[in-house]
């Protein structure tokens, strides 16, 4: 018997990252004891090669792997975004790892494997493959969250993330099982076709499955009431990993959410839209009010990440159609801003400490003018002030909600953005209007981290001034989902 021929070409970007991960691991094994393998250059090379592969795949028009893994415009868009996030995180990492004494070979391997999981998550057109990808991403991040062996907060973050993550995976799997029971298939297309002609016999089952899927994804994107892990995990995890979580995991989870709900469950839109809308409202409100009360910058950004999940969900309500492209566009803007925000804190780390309070960043503008300016750009974009990516992105998100007839969601979103200005701009005020306290305790910005931060700031400004190219691409990607 000859084995069936499988065309693995469409999975090349993910395969390149996986092989690079293994190469970094082996390189560590062959490095003398006490020294670190050149993990960062290896990873950078792998990520750039994967980016080239994505470009070549796009030129070839994508592809399909046995019906389980599809590379269409939608997944290519996310491929580029996720690999970009990976590049920035790897650029930020070496100096941070040295400053905090956690420079280990496995770090880059686990980061690359979690990126492989993210690529799978946005490309899988079959629920079981999707679940395996989700677990690859999550398990790597559970371990990475606990990388600071000496810090109790990091251990707490790993345990908390692991337990809530495993719990949410259970919900997701239960939902997948019920959808399989209702439709007899795990392929998104087949599920969609089966549910389009629903008998009363399976309608309740499919609705229940949809609800459980929503709970599972709700955990992963940190939407209220499934957000309670986020502040502790974001605070305890190494800051570069927090950046990866807030930019990469959120993008990949929203990608999977859009694909599953857009391709398999459009027939049930009438029952999941109100639920998503309710999640969006409580997430926007609780996330923003929670952020107001934080004095720790990492926790503040964590609650801000919760709040942004709410803004994004407000546009998911308007999916399929204009809502999808709004979410896709905003995910790029949001990723750049969060990589920048957490990256700026990581870049200043010195001797295991990093700036975490307003006092720590007071007067930063006089000591690190370039870094303070970049951080100000990110914070202004998070608020949604014009001429930043955040403004354009939020505009599209809320317009999508209004067009779909959910004006109240847009109103709440705008009101909450006004509230958010207080806690974001408080940091800018501390950097520019206050005198620095004490001696300069922070590291000079290392060149690679400077490059990463400059890139993020450039993306934020470019998207704010000239959003058309990315928007066109997002529109193309959204269309391939239909």
């Amino acid at each position: 018997m000859t084995p069936p021929v499988v065309d693995v070409l469409p999975a090349i970007p993910a395969l390149i990252l996986a092989v690079t991960g293994l190469a970094v691991l082996l390189a560590q094994a062959f490095t003398p004891r006490g020294q670190a393998a050149p993990g960062a250059p290896f990873s950078l090379a792998g990520l750039l090669a994967a980016l080239v592969a994505v470009y070549l795949l796009a030129a070839r028009g994508g592809g399909d792997l046995g019906g389980t893994y599809v590379v269409d415009a939608f997944s290519l868009y996310f491929h580029a975004l996720i690999i970009g996030v990976g590049l920035v995180v790897v650029l930020l990492s070496p100096s941070y790892l040295r400053a905090t004494g956690i420079d280990r070979g496995e770090y880059y391997t686990l980061v690359l494997f979690s990126l492989v999981g993210m690529l799978g998550l946005v490309s899988c057109r079959e629920l079981v493959s999707l679940f395996v990808s989700l677990e690859v991403m999550s398990v790597a991040l559970y371990a990475l969250a606990g990388l600071h062996r000496a810090r109790p907060e990091s251990q707490e973050a790993a345990l908390k993330y692991f337990i809530t993550g495993a719990f949410s995976s259970g919900f997701l799997l239960y939902g997948i099982a019920l959808l399989y029971g209702a439709s007899g298939s795990t392929s998104l297309v087949a599920v969609g076709a089966a549910l389009r002609t629903p008998g009363p016999a399976t309608a309740a089952l499919a609705t229940m499955g949809t609800g459980l899927l929503l709970v599972g994804f709700g955990f992963k994107v940190a939407s209220v009431p499934f957000h309670m892990w986020a502040p502790d995990v974001y605070e305890g995890a190494p800051t570069t990993i927090t950046a990866l979580m807030s930019a990469g995991v959120k993008a990949a989870a929203f990608g999977a959410l859009l694909r599953v709900f857009g391709q398999a469950l459009p027939a049930l839109a009438a029952s999941w839209q109100p639920a998503v809308a309710a999640l969006a409202v409580v997430t926007m409100v609780v996330g923003n009010l929670g952020a107001l009360a934080q004095s720790n910058l990492k926790r503040m950004l964590a609650y801000s990440s919760v709040a942004h999940a709410g803004y994004l969900l407000a546009a998911v309500v308007a999916a399929p159609g204009i809502g999808v492209e709004a979410v896709l566009f905003y995910l790029v803007a949001y990723a750049a801003v969060n990589l920048g925000g957490f990256g700026a804190l990581a870049a200043l780390a010195r001797q295991g400490r990093e700036p975490l309070s307003l006092d720590d960043v007071a007067g930063l503008a006089s000591r690190r003018p370039a870094l303070a300016a970049a951080l100000a750009v990110y914070l202004i974009s998070l608020t949604g002030v014009p001429v930043s990516a955040g403004f354009v992105g939020k505009f599209f998100l809320f317009r999508a909600a209004v067009n779909a007839g959910w004006t109240s969601l847009a109103v709440i979103g705008v009101l909450m953005s006004v509230v958010s200005a207080y806690y974001y701009l408080r940091v800018v005020v501390a950097m520019y209007m206050r005198e620095p306290l004490g001696e300069d305790a922070w590291a000079p910005v290392p060149p690679s981290a400077g490059l990463a931060l400059g890139l993020s700031a450039a993306v934020v400004l470019a998207l704010g001034v000239h959003p058309e190219p990315v928007l066109t691409w997002a529109r193309l990607a959204a269309r391939s989902l239909l």
């Binding site: 084995p3 069936p4 499988v6 693995v8 999975a11 996986a18 691991l25 792997l65 046995g66 019906g67 389980t68 893994y69 004494g101 280990r104 496995e106 391997t109 686990l110 494997f113 492989v116 999981g117 799978g120 899988c124 079959e126 079981v128 493959s129 395996v132 990808s133 677990e135 690859v136 398990v139 790597a140 559970y142 371990a143 606990g146 990388l147 062996r149 000496a150 790993a158 019920l178 029971g181 209702a182 007899g184 008998g199 016999a201 399976t202 309740a204 089952l205 229940m208």
Partner: protein
Amino acid sequence: MNAEAAVFYVLAAITVGSAAVVVLARSLIYSAFALLFTFVGVAGLYLLLGADFLAATQLLIYVGGILVLLLFGVMLTHKLYDLDLRSEVTQFLPGVIVSIGLFAVLALTAWRTDWAGGDGRAPAATTREIGQLFMGRYLLPFEAASILLLVALMGAAMIVRRKRSA
């Protein structure tokens, strides 16, 4: 009630009953032994459905591997076997309400659904077909699962490693 249904109810009772013991037992060692019956009960359910490969895997991996490892872990860990496992109960009432509500909704859904049955015949040996699917249609998730195992191994090794005195 025919014989098949009778076998199903016996197996289901074993599975659910022993699972309850796993959760409720005060001693870890009782929980571990009760887990044996849960695993065997699930394997029996797989057999009843004609999933022979799955049943064999369930016995080999869960009973033969995971459970034995778990028992070794419990027995070799100092003082773990007579540890009182009850943790402090917080949020008792909300927890009860949520779990009873969720159970009611799930039970009602299961009850109301007109489950699609097969043609009543058990499939012929499934191993061959599963192997072909793993090497063909599901090649990618199959390979992704091996990455998942590697990641889990690395993560576990990283977390239990002794702290460096640096």
